[in-house]
Symmetry: C2
Subunit: 111 residues, 2 copies
């Protein structure tokens, strides 16, 4: 029941985007992601077998879905990315840490 | 794939604590909770059959576990409340909206 903080204990050096599991069960994976100007590798699209509910909590980012207009995410903005919806992070703020909270739903959402 | 924001569209009048389902599957329930000075009814303890991962994102609150010292939560603070760990919200900020994001894990977490 220890308390931890989503905005603390971020490594000083982040050569790559940083993924940290906060809680994991058979059906759910709660993850903190910290980006510092990082983007998804060029021409790579995430294509997940499961839906992902994700909220941007700090910083700013641009999320792209294949074949659709990109969307800018500001703190508090959240989206549900259905399984097999190809997506990538096109841009994140360079001079600040962009903090994401992702909830991977290892079965399809009902609604 | 519409974007919504955790800090927006909060009702002007909140006679009671406000619960809003953001995403629900058979195994997970993601919920936004907004408190404005609200606390859990006196002498009532939440006693859930499932674990709850919860983060306070705005405002401030005091969370109590039965038989243990209360903890103060500030923005970004998160806790995992195991199933059947009796808890209640003892205090929330009165002059601001306290925004929580709760992920109810409808099966026990592995670690």
């Amino acid at each position: 029941m220890a308390t931890a903080n989503l905005f603390k204990n971020i490594p000083k050096h982040l050569p790559e985007e940083w993924f940290e599991t906060l809680c994991k069960t058979g059906q759910v994976h709660i993850e903190r992601i910290v980006s510092r100007g990082h983007v998804t590798a060029e021409a790579y699209w995430y294509d997940q077998d499961w839906a992902e509910w994700v909220v941007l909590l700090q910083g700013r980012a641009v999320l792209a879905y294949e074949g659709r207009p990109s969307i800018t995410l500001n703190p508090g903005d959240y989206v549900l990315i259905p399984a097999h919806t190809k997506h990538r992070v096109e841009w994140t703020q360079e001079d600040a840490d962009t903090v994401w909270l992702a909830v991977h739903l290892l079965e399809p959402p009902a609604g």
